[in-house]
Amino acid sequence: MNNSIATWMHKRQKVRLLALLAAPGLWLVVAYLGALGALLVTAFFTIDNFTGDTIPGFNLGNFHDMVSDPAYRNVMFRTLGIALSVTLICSAIAIPMAFFMAKVAKPRNQKFLVALVLTPLWASYLVKIYAWRSMLEPGTGVIDWLLSPLGIHSPGFGGPAIIIGLSYLWLPYMILPIYAGLERLPNSLLDASGDLGARNFYTFRKVVLPLIFPSLVAGSMFTFSLSLGDYITAQIIGGKLQMLGNVVYQNFSINLPFAATIATIPITIMALYLWLVRRTGALASL
């Protein structure tokens, strides 16, 4: 019986393909795009002011509220700024680190270094952020203690703290793709550039950077999108500062349609970002 199905399938390539892709395809369309679609549709619903029940319908009121209130514009730009800063800081730290790991360290140490970069991922997200909370504590934290001889104080809780915390959290996601990109970069190219008289920085700018650009983009997609959606870090070390995720969190249980409306902002930003990335052609050469 099994044999005959196999024989039958063997002759029909399209059926085989369909059977193979049915499960992941269904998952993609129903669970993923379906949920996203439901979210977008909910943004047009309204709620019963008293019981909080959602009332299906087509209403642009939520979008009007979102656009007309400058607070949501502020939080959008603030979140965007934080996500961009985190991405820049992560790349600035990750490029030299990955370069050292891939090109300078002895080959037998490379795997060990990769493991070291991964170790922070073994600890819980919350533990790490609470650790940052006690480190950043103004007056009593270890950062204040370290910096006070220099006359500098801990930034305390707020925007800078969020950027530091998120950069710390997402750094491994930036290092790994760049490391992988650099590993594929033949040493001979660097030697050739040096032989032709290029200085180190010139080699980096003209040879290394263009070749690892796709990896950098891959890493930035992680750091940027993860920062854009985060709300727990802001809750713990953000002081009174909020990000887009916090606004969604604040609203979702009592006013789901409005939370869905706010959620369209990061979706739009991510779509624009991916579109820009596609235009650079970096996705094709990943």
Binding site: G34, N49, F50, T51, G52
Partner: protein, 400 residues
């Protein structure tokens, strides 16, 4: 690339289908008028045999079976004596609890005042036949038949416990000691950047309470019944307060840590937090300011779709029994609702600290309530701002 296009076409098609589905059901209702009475649901007539289990939605710390601390257990003996197995789902906010109860999968809930009316008018909970709950007789009279647990004299639940939101200050730093909520709203406060406030839309009521006493011309009678003008005044006051705030708190452990480190020296808190801070050696004091304060009073309610109503009633009776009520109150840090519970607490001063039996203490405590379009203070000439607008105003304020 061809596959990518196919995928995006499928995506568009499914999105369109969902939108169409959404639109087709849009004819059912337009705008809902303010409801004057809750849906008619009958209370249980008589108690039957237990169903073998009960599904509970509760605040963390309200249903302890010894899992967190072996000594803290008021579930096991209930399970043994009634044969009802207790399944608990901890709700972290009032809004989440309302959402959970709407699923109809739970039998009882410990609802705070900012959730109870929503549940009652939403038809999610049933009236309670208090004659089936023997321990109800011992509940403090000041907690029975209140605006957040009954409608037109019909009880919708049994009172569990209560607490006031206090003004906490660091006794070493804040001198002279504050006596008024004005100290957290003073734009020229010397403690700027070290003041805290509760991070929820319900905190708008704290500003309204202060205005009620400091600006009588606004005519605020009840902090949860604000017309647009009064509401705007309260939000404006919170905008004045915002630069003074170091951190808003909702996680009590973070809040106590901040009191300990000196990051917070003045602000709103709960008695339980003060006790925790004192036990860690922080020099703080908590007072109920001259204006009175906001507070909470929780109510055990039974679902209108309860599958285990008998076990649900047995649980409601058990949880307000003197011993269980005393145990919860001490573990959670609130005033018990059962008058006899005060004899059962481990700390003999517990009820005094929490003013459990002190009726006069509670007269100017305004328990959390759900603001509705129909003004809760009885005014009929104006519309009040409903709670969903409070939430929007709060998130707008936090991000301005």
């Amino acid at each position: 690339m061809r596959n990518a296009r196919l995928l995006s076409q499928i995506a568009v098609a499914s999105a369109v289908a969902i939108i169409l589905a959404g639109c087709s059901s849009s004819t059912t209702s337009s705008t809902t008028a303010a409801k004057s009475s809750p849906p008619k649901i009958d209370a249980m007539k008589s108690l039957g045999a237990g169903e073998g289990q009960v599904n509970i939605v509760a605040w963390g710390g309200y249903v302890e079976s010894g899992a967190n601390d072996p000594k803290v257990n008021w579930v096991s003996d209930f399970e043994k004596s009634t044969g009802c197995k207790v399944n608990v789902k901890v709700g972290s906010t009032s809004d989440e609890m309302v959402a959970l109860m709407k699923t109809g999968q739970y039998d009882v809930v410990s609802a705070s005042g900012d959730a109870s009316l929503r549940l009652i008018y939403g038809g999610d909970v049933a009236p309670v036949n208090t004659s089936l709950i023997p321990n109800y007789a011992d509940v403090f009279p000041g907690l029975k038949d209140q605006a957040w647990n009954s409608v037109d004299g019909v009880a919708y639940g049994v009172p569990h416990g209560r607490g006031a939101n206090l003004l906490v200050y660091n006794t070493d730093i804040v001198k002279p000691a504050p006596t008024s909520w004005g100290s957290v709203f003073d734009a020229n406060s010397p403690y700027k950047g070290k003041i805290t406030a509760y991070d929820s839309a319900i905190y708008i009521a704290d500003a309204a309470l202060y205005l009620m006493k400091s600006q009588p011309s606004l005519g605020i009678k009840y902090p949860y019944a604000l017309d647009q003008k009064q509401f705007d005044a309260a939000v404006a006051l919170l905008k004045v307060q915002k630069p003074l705030i170091g951190e808003y708190w909702s996680d009590y452990l973070k809040h106590v840590a901040s009191l300990k480190s000196g990051g917070t020296v003045l602000g709103t808190t709960w008695q339980a937090n003060i006790n925790l801070a004192l036990s860690e050696g922080v020099k703080v004091n908590g007072i109920k300011p001259v204006e009175g304060s906001t507070g909470w009073s929780d109510t055990w309610m039974i679902s209108s779709k309860a599958k285990n109503p008998n076990c649900g009633y047995m649980w409601m009776d058990h949880i307000i029994s003197p011993s269980a009520n005393a145990a919860v109150a001490e573990w959670f840090g609130e005033a018990p609702s059962n008058a006899k519970a005060c004899d059962m607490t481990a700390d003999k001063n517990f009820c005094t600290t929490f003013h459990a039996a002190d009726a006069a203490y509670w007269t100017d405590v305004y328990y959390w309530n759900t603001a509705t379009e129909t003004c809760l203070d009885g005014r009929t000439d104006v519309k009040c701002v409903p709670y969903s607008e409070w939430v929007k105003a709060w998130s707008s304020l936090r991000n301005a």
